[in-house]
Amino acid sequence: MKRRVNFFWILYGIVLAVLFLLSSTDLIIKEEEAEIYPISVIVGDTTDDNYVNFRKGMERAAIELNGDVNFITLYEKGSASQQKELILREQEDGSRALIIDPVEAGMLAGMQKETRFTVPVILINAQREEAEKTENTACITFDYYGMGRMLGEEIIKERSPEAAVYLLKDEKPDVAEGLFARGLGDRLMEADCEMTSFTLPAEGEPEQILEELTLGRSRKAVLAAANPESLLMAAELLADAEGAAKWVQGLYGRGNTVPVLNYLERGIIRGLCVTDDFSAGYLSVKTAVELAGRRSVMSSAEDMGYLESHYIRREDLRNEKYEKMLYPIE
């Protein structure tokens, strides 16, 4: 009897030990470990001001697909050498995929001559041709050239014939800006409309800057900004310069940031080319995770299409379709 009792206690002890091992360790029942994909995103800017919706999309995808996204900005805007250094550093530090907004066209193809990308690269805001030329690379981008043409079309429709068109650009244009400006210029040229490039000074009296643009107010002007920063600067100038509306027939451009959209709502910006950055961000991380998980080269360049872009006016801001796109809820 005593032996039986002892046996029972020993059995009880063993059961307890097994239960403990089951509940507190993964020795017997192994909990499935989700693989986390470290992904580095390297943009060509010093801030993320123009990537707000893009980041929201990335973060959503990262949570859903076990991505660990490290968003990296440069120390100096548009510095190709810094971007190259960061690309190499992130690759060495164990990133499973790189998402790059290249500061220069052809930069990645150039880099491949010197070094080999050991991880998949997803290009954003770049030319598809660049991704097609580069090994292990995908491209999530908008048709910036087409977007420029689309804006040109609207300007031709709306401007009065005597108005001069000024392209407001950055001193160091990035790939997207270059393509957009080329598309706009080509379309305006087809309509025999001349376009003059102009870089807005960082400081100065709004009235004086606009005087310069409108040749001492002797002619009307249409302003088209090739990048969101110039568009915002021009909108601020117009908001501060009373009476400018008489000479500046319209301000157009591209951009999705909240300040830019506010100026569209106030009527200071007449028309805007916008993109679905949330989807672009989501897709770039989704593609990165897929490629990193598969450890394979992107199957073919033909898979890579352009994401849609749109031209909107003030009244379109309350359109449900654009509202969802421009103010995405995470």
Binding site: N6, L21, T25, I36, T47, D68, N70, Y75, E330
Partner: protein
């Protein structure tokens, strides 16, 4: 008896195995010299102008630190959008992604204990900022820090802007010449300790400064420009020609009040704010706002980052960051009025 002994040995070895396994699971690897650190930052609301300014400064600090030391900084900044549950999830994610340290701007200061529990279990130091967890929570662990711009100091400085102005030119505040300055008050969240302290000490400083004051009304605008603007619009209609001063717990609400005044075409009412945000400073410079109290944002963010980076590397807190009681850092502040920054 012999069998009993065997069983005892078997059981003991089983327990020993289990214990060593557990120790293996919870033990931390002894890292060599680190060449990268990971800092998780959770903001109570990313659209708060002051917090957004701090976020920008934190990013600058991280870049400068990388350049100076060559240590890679992975700064993971998340917006809790005013939800404590979201913030708790973010903290869990920071822990699962192996953050070395967390910088938390709590949504609800009374709910910090949940974050502290998780951080303590994962042995990850936490630098709280802008919203102070309750003292009992802060005392639970020696790896908890708090960075702030002292609320009482801000309020006293805000009050002194008005007092100085009144002493120089009483008519500019007592617009109707009745000998009393009639004011309205725009307050931050009722659950935020800074809102309560700022309100109390700002008004007290006006009284101590000898200004005859009368409160017309006050309201909670939750630090938000739009809410302050809506409240102010109502008050301008309800108290026509009576409001002479608007005391605001922060710059965003001061700007909201100015928006409402501009819409109503009303000028002459003095507005004071706190924080020294970029739009706030611009409003002071343009003369729309009488003044604001600015904390040194570089220093504020520098303290948050300095504590975080040193803790992440297991180093001593930099000598330039003087901590009170070994855990509190109070950022200095200054008055900003037009042409006198």
């Amino acid at each position: 008896m012999k069998n009993m002994k065997k069983c005892f040995i078997l059981l003991s070895s089983l327990w020993l195995c289990a214990a060593s396994l557990l120790a293996g699971c919870s033990g931390k690897e002894n890292a060599g010299e680190k060449n990268s650190i990971r800092i998780g930052v959770s903001l109570y609301r990313g659209d708060d102008t002051f917090i957004n300014n701090i976020r920008g400064e934190l990013e600058k600090c991280a870049k400068e630190y990388e350049k100076e030391t060559g240590v890679k900084v992975n700064l993971d900044i998340q917006d809790a959008k005013g939800s404590q549950n979201t913030q708790n999830d973010q903290v869990e994610r920071f822990i699962s992604l192996g953050c070395d340290v967390m910088c938390i701007n709590p949504v609800d200061r009374t709910a910090a204990s949940v974050i502290i529990d998780k951080a303590m279990a994962a042995d990850i130091p936490v630098v709280f900022f802008n919203r102070q967890p309750v003292e009992e929570d802060m005392d639970r662990w020696d790896q908890l820090y708090y960075v702030e711009a002292a609320a009482k100091e801000s309020a006293v400085l805000q009050g002194s802007i008005v007092v100085d102005h009144y002493r120089e030119n009483p008519e500019s505040l007592d617009l109707n010449g009745d000998g009393v300055v009639s004011y309205v008050l725009l307050e931050g969240e009722s659950s935020h300790q800074d809102a309560l302290i700022r309100t109390e000490w700002s008004v007290q400083t006006l009284k101590d400064g000898g200004i005859p004051i009368e409160k017309l009304t006050g309201g909670i605008a939750n630090w938000e420009r739009s809410q302050a603007s809506a409240l102010m619009e109502q008050w301008l209609e309800k108290y026509p020609g009576q409001i002479e001063l608007i005391l605001c717990n922060n710059d965003d609400m001061a700007l909201g009040a100015i928006d409402a005044m501009e819409r109503a075409g009303i000028t002459g009412i003095s507005v004071v704010g706190i924080d020294g945000t970029t739009p706030g400073l611009e409003a002071v410079e343009s003369g729309k706002m009488m003044g604001t109290v600015s904390s040194n944002k570089e220093l504020y963010a520098g303290a948050v980052f300095g504590i975080a980076s040193s803790r992440a590397l297991g180093e001593e807190i930099p000598a330039g960051i003087e901590l009170e009681e070994g855990k509190y850092f109070k950022c200095p502040q200054q008055i900003v009025v037009k042409n006198h920054k």
